[in-house]
């Protein structure tokens, strides 16, 4: 009994002592996360200068970060901030910088090139953004030259838009039970097949809205064993464009982790559709799409908002086909900046290296969200 109390007292004293030590002499990483100092040492080296800048961006210490730049005379502090977080509401507006990576590319006694990859924590997951920074030595310290990309601003104007819009009126509570309600949109799965990946089974396919009204869609798949008992049920979640205008096709991808294809006897697909109020605006053109082979296989291109409405969040979904036209993969990317009218915004979708060789064509669709009214 006595020894137990002694042990508890010792543990309490040790805990208090460790807390005090941690507060008075914090570990560099903890101090950096708290926004106090850099994990790297000040600006004594090019990498340290970039690291310090990264810490300041993470702490949203814009004034401090801006004042440390070598080329700050070329732009204002708000322009620097908007270059990182966007001028208009977008994914980055509601994100924080989770972590960053510093990678030296080239160095001499007076200057260096350093790659800074910022991993923004957004509501749809991590969104990396990479900048190559030129760092110059000024006296005994290194300073970063920020490669400013000035966000274009929209000139005040009126853009006439006369695209179609659909609204829905459902039957009322006073209607006879036999009275008709508005029909749910007719959708059809036009392609579906499973593939086996290292982390489980993936069901890929395409869904068509064959109706004349917009549809809110999702797809659920149930894997059945050879004895027709259910193994697992999963949905497409955000690996699909949920809004389909008439005759529009979306790819979908459904993951079944830790399931082997050899266990699967059949698959039960359930496409779901509902009516939704929608607009045919904005039209987003996808320009200059390029398939890049492995290594670093990817699909790149530019999104061009042809409408008059600012698109705050754009979701790019790429469907990749083999030579025979079968879907071999579906990949996506959220674009972390707003799409301004007539302003190209680049995107890059990564493709698994092992599948890249079998891809011969692709098709891209865009799902958009505008805070002025979702499409």
């Amino acid at each position: 009994m006595k020894s137990g109390r002694l042990l508890a007292a010792l543990l309490a004293v040790a805990t208090i002592a460790l807390v005090l030590i941690g507060t008075v002499w914090p570990a560099p990483s903890a101090a950096a996360y708290a926004g106090a100092t850099s994990m790297l040492d000040s600006s004594s080296t090019a990498e340290a200068a970039v690291g310090t800048l990264g810490d300041e961006i993470r702490a949203k210490a814009w004034e401090k970060a801006y004042s440390s730049l070598a080329n700050k005379a070329q732009f204002t502090e708000p322009e620097f901030e908007h270059d990182l977080t966007g001028n208009y509401p977008s994914l980055l507006t509601y994100s924080t910088l989770g972590n960053f990576e510093v990678r030296p590319l080239h160095a001499s006694a007076s200057d260096a090139d350093v790659q800074l990859t910022l991993h923004w924590a957004t509501v749809v997951g991590s969104s990396p953004s990479t900048r190559t920074l030129h760092v110059i030595k000024s006296g005994d310290k290194w300073q970063v030259e920020w490669p400013i990309v000035k966000t274009p601003t929209l000139a005040p104007q009126v853009i006439p838009v006369n695209y179609l819009r659909w609204d829905v009126i459902y039957r009322g509570p006073g209607d006879d039970w036999g009275a008709q309600d508005v029909e749910a949109p007719h959708v059809r799965i036009v392609d579906m097949h499973p593939i086996e990946r290292a982390d489980g089974v993936v069901v890929l396919g395409e869904l068509l809205n064959e109706d004349i009204v917009p549809a809110y869609v999702s797809v659920t798949a149930t894997l059945l064993s050879k004895s027709q008992t259910p193994i697992a049920t999963e949905g497409s979640f955000d690996r699909i464009s949920h809004l389909l205008l008439p005759k529009q096709v979306t790819p979908f991808l459904i993951k079944f982790p830790n399931v082997s294809l050899s266990e699967v006897g059949s698959i039960r697909m359930t496409p779901l559709s509902g009516l939704i109020a929608a607009s045919a605006d904005p039209v987003i053109a996808i320009d200059n799409e390029q398939l890049h082979p492995a290594p670093g296989a990817s699909l790149t291109g530019q999104l061009n908002n042809q409408g008059g409405q600012i698109v705050n969040v754009a979701h790019v979904l790429g469907t990749f086909y083999d030579k025979t036209g079968n879907v071999v993969w579906v990949a996506d990317q959220y674009v972390n900046q707003a799409l301004l009218p007539q302003t190209p915004v680049p995107f890059e979708i990564h493709i698994p290296e092992d599948l890249a060789r079998s891809i011969s064509s692709q098709r891209t669709v865009i799902a958009t969200y505008s805070s002025a009214g979702s499409q």
Binding site: W166, Q180, D181, D211, I212, D287
Partner: protein, 289 residues
């Protein structure tokens, strides 16, 4: 059954307070009565008693004088079903059973027409199911003559005549080739019920585009898009233009506006341009400046 047992128990308990029914007391009632019609139950004997009529949705209680008929005016019982009559006096009770049956005259049709919207030219694409009710909302289960009539946008009518089975009848009809609104009518005697069915254009047919240069841009436009029956495809339908050039590609999904889709794309000499809508492919253009 539980409900009936409970009611009989209650009635028996109530009867304990009444005089005993004599051996000569008996009830005589019709085996079936039409809903809402007047009827009577004749009771022999002498003295006073209480008559209970117990059905699924109704319970009646009457103080009766034995030896006289208990008269129930029109509208007393109107829910079709099986009824129990209990005559209670003192510690004894007598019971009998009879049915309330639906009126043989339809007063209301519940008509379910599906779907409310479908493409043109679908065989048996429209179904209609009808349930026949009397004036008291009882399902009329005896065979009743029903006619269905679907009048298309062009005025042509498809007709079916049949009898209900167990209170219902159904049919299926074709959507015609012309888009517009169908009028779908179910009729029984003087009673009818109307529904509308919208016939919408089908998939685009013979999708064709043309290209022309306008400044630095290539203007692509479809001819008016129609389905295989010649109906104009609805505005808002997505048409996809794809321009392939030197390993690159540009794509735009454009909604139809006033029957055509039009877009401006970058001018790439030697590009192959294709057009599609849903799963329907249109023509291809090999563009040269």
């Amino acid at each position: 059954m539980r409900l009936r047992g409970l009611l009989l128990t209650c009635v028996a308990a109530t009867a304990m307070t009444h005089p005993v029914l004599s051996q000569s007391t008996s009830m005589s009632m019709p085996t079936a009565v039409e809903a809402g019609k007047a009827f009577s139950i004749s009771i022999t004997g002498s003295g006073k008693a209480t008559l209970y009529i117990i059905g699924l949705g109704q319970v009646l209680k009457r103080d009766v004088t034995l030896g006289q008929a208990a008269f129930f005016p029109a509208g007393s019982l109107y829910n079709a079903g099986h009824y129990l009559a209990v005559l209670a006096a003192d510690s004894s009770a007598q019971s009998g059973e009879f049915d309330i049956i639906p009126l043989n005259k339809p007063a209301e049709l519940s008509f379910l027409a599906r779907p409310s919207r479908l493409p043109v030219g679908l065989h048996n694409g429209i179904t209609g199911a009808v349930y026949v009710f009397d004036a008291y909302q009882n399902l009329i289960t005896t065979p009743t003559a029903i006619s269905f009539e679907l009048t298309g946008p062009a005025g042509t009518a498809q007709k079916r005549a049949m009898e209900t089975q167990d209170g219902s009848a159904w049919t299926s009809m074709d959507s015609t080739g012309q888009q517009g609104v169908d009028r779908f009518v179910a009729r029984s005697g003087e009673v009818s019920s109307n529904r509308v069915v919208s016939q919408v254009p089908g998939d685009p047919c013979g999708l064709k585009m043309t290209a022309r240069l306008s400044g630095q841009k290539l203007v692509l436009a479809t001819d008016p898009v129609r389905d295989c029956n010649g109906n104009a495809v609805s505005d808002g339908t997505i048409v996809t233009f794809t321009e392939s050039f030197n390993g690159g590609q540009s794509t735009v999904d454009v909604p139809l506006k006033h029957g055509v889709a039009e877009v401006q794309m970058d001018d790439h000499s030697g590009a192959t341009i294709s057009v599609a809508s849903g799963i329907v492919l249109g023509n291809q253009i090999h563009w040269k400046d």
